[in-house]
Amino acid sequence: MTIATDPSETDIDVGRRLRMYRQMVSIRAFEEQVNQLYLRALMPGLAHLYSGEEAVAVGICEALGADDYITSTHRGHGHCLAKGAAPDRMFAELLGKAAGYCHGKGGSMHIADAATGNLGANAIVGGSIAIATGAAFSSKYLHNNRVSVCFFGEGALGQGVLYESMNMAQLWRLPVIYVCENNFYNEYTHFSETTAGEILGRPAAFGVHAECVDGQDVDAVYTAAARLVHRARRGEGPAFLLCNTYRYTGHHVGDINREYYRSKQEEQQWVTERDPLKHAADRLIAGGIVDRAEIDRLHAEINAEMEKAVEFAVSTPYPGVEEVEQDVYA
């Protein structure tokens, strides 16, 4: 059974802050490995990296218990890690190996982990919104106190199913939190060209409680999430959390020349001024919780861990071809 987090704790305890920092570093390191795998031509297909957006997944998932559900997107490595999946089996999945979470059948865009409540990444923009809402329907029906978090990019604001789902979630007071990761771009188009009106007005129109938070500040994300999760567990219904954030690299690993849709300067500004890891590290150091050396050690440790995980994934075998016809039906 999930233990409710008390959202009144505005002072986040040290253990939690360190854990969140570690998680963010892990995601960054994971994504750097993914990019390397791509550059080394070891990865099939094109992955969508989460670098720059770490504080969102980490802050949200920190407010969840292991039993709570998440649904994720094509840019889903961060969510998967933050919810507790292991990097080695994740890399294995990204390489299409049998040891991967989905036996290699899902890959980057469909990674899922039943043990940590990850209902799966989704390659259809908005494709998991109704699913997350349905998971919340179950929770309410079964009285099991679970909360369901639906991550999606601001591009999914274009999909009608979001509004259909929010309407039902509010009508039925379902414990679901819609987390909109606004990284300002739908692929290669700025969201202002695809999004009329004010984003927060959309959930509000359906009576869904809506808030906005700085998606580069993991403490702020966690605090908001904890409050909304608590609210949902108390039966007060769905919420919408808009997290403004930024993806550092291309839409996918192959999107290198981006200047036709966004400037290097804009990218640089986010990286130097708004980096969620730097921000969190500075705060930890300023608060006297860790020093720079400890931070560096942590990074080194995590990098080493990721390298080992990659090695495992690279060396572990592909599924046998006979597996292609397995698991079509349960």
Partner: protein
């Protein structure tokens, strides 16, 4: 069918009874759909269920087919066994992403981690003067998608047993019900039973020609068989009952025996299920066939409103009789 026939139920009553039994047996079974509760659907098929099971289990939804189908998928993944009601089969158009990209693929894409034990009940069939957007039989779309199961019951007995099996199945199963058949009566045992998904039923044994017919076309085929009998042609009527999984063996063996076959389904004639059924028969019985397999479906036009036009679009006892007689006369 068991020996002791206790009573007759309509097709609609058999559906209601199947749902009620499964809901009593398993508290995880819930119904989601438009006007399913107090109204019991426009076809009144669910009348009374909300009174027995309450509005938490028989849930009136907004007119959001994509949304509540997806909610069904998510609920199925997390411990419930939802039965999603799509009033007219024409509205599955709105659910195709949830069904084909999500429900059908979750189990496979997750390497077997997540399951989607959900049922979609919807309708098919024309001749109700409901025009082009309320008369289609679009089951071929679902049959084409691996990961889904598709059920096409043609009698009260079959629909009860198959629907119960569908609810217990751990996969997304779509049940197509012929709107015109809800009042059709037939024997249904009082004792509980289920019918395995994937087994055809020979609705009438015969020697000279095989008529494979689905759903609404089974009664048409049986009527044609009676007419054929009068001119000395013995028709075997085979009802696949479930289009996926498909009981190829029964179809092929029947065709081998009779050496002629017609396939009838109320979906549009082209690129529909008759093509698959005919191909399966040809592949399995080619060297036994005297004639190519004939296919009959809805005329390949949007279903018109005007009664004389609409009536021309669907196979009838007469048109089936004519095709069968022609096939048998070419010896």
């Amino acid at each position: 069918m068991p020996e002791v026939i206790a009573r007759e139920l309509t097709f609609g009553e058999a559906i209601r009874e199947a749902l009620a039994e499964e809901m009593r047996r398993d508290s995880r079974v819930v119904i989601l759909g438009e006007d399913v509760a107090e109204a019991g659907t426009p076809f009144k098929v669910l009348a009374g269920l909300v009174q027995e099971f309450g509005p938490e289990r028989v849930v009136d939804t907004p007119i959001s087919e994509a949304g509540f189908t997806g909610i069904g998928v998510g609920a199925a993944m997390t411990g419930l066994r939802p039965v999603v009601d799509i009033m007219f089969g024409d509205f599955i158009t709105l659910t195709m992403d949830q069904m084909a990209n999500q429900a059908a693929k979750v189990h496979y894409m997750s390497g077997g981690m997540w399951k989607v034990p959900m049922v979609m009940r919807t309708t098919l069939g024309a001749t109700r003067r409901s025009a082009a957007q309320h008369s289609q039989s679009l089951h071929a779309w679902f049959c084409h998608i691996p990961g889904l199961k598709v059920i096409m019951p043609s009698t009260p007995y079959d629909v009860k047993g198959l629907l119960k099996a569908a609810i217990r199945d751990d996969n997304p199963v779509i049940v197509f019900e012929d709107k015109m058949m809800y009042k059709l009566k037939g024997p249904v045992p009082v004792e509980e039973y289920t019918i395995p998904i994937g087994k055809a039923d020979i609705k009438r044994a015969g020697e000279d020609i095989t008529i494979v017919a689905t759903s609404s076309m089974v009664q048409v085929a049986l009527g044609a068989a009676v007419m054929l009998e009068e001119i000395g042609i013995s028709a075997e009527v085979v009802d696949p009952r479930t289009l996926w999984p498909l009981d190829e063996h029964t179809l092929v063996e029947s065709a081998k025996k009779t050496s002629r076959a017609i396939v009838i389904d109320e979906g549009y004639a082209r690129y529909g299920t008759t093509a698959e059924l005919a191909s399966v028969i040809v592949e399995g019985a080619f060297f036994h066939l005297d004639q190519p397999v004939a296919r009959m479906g809805a005329m390949h036009v949007p279903i018109p409103f005007s009664p004389p036009l609409e009536d021309a679009t669907v196979p009838t006892e007469r048109s089936v009789f004519d095709v069968a007689r022609a096939l048998c006369s070419k010896r």
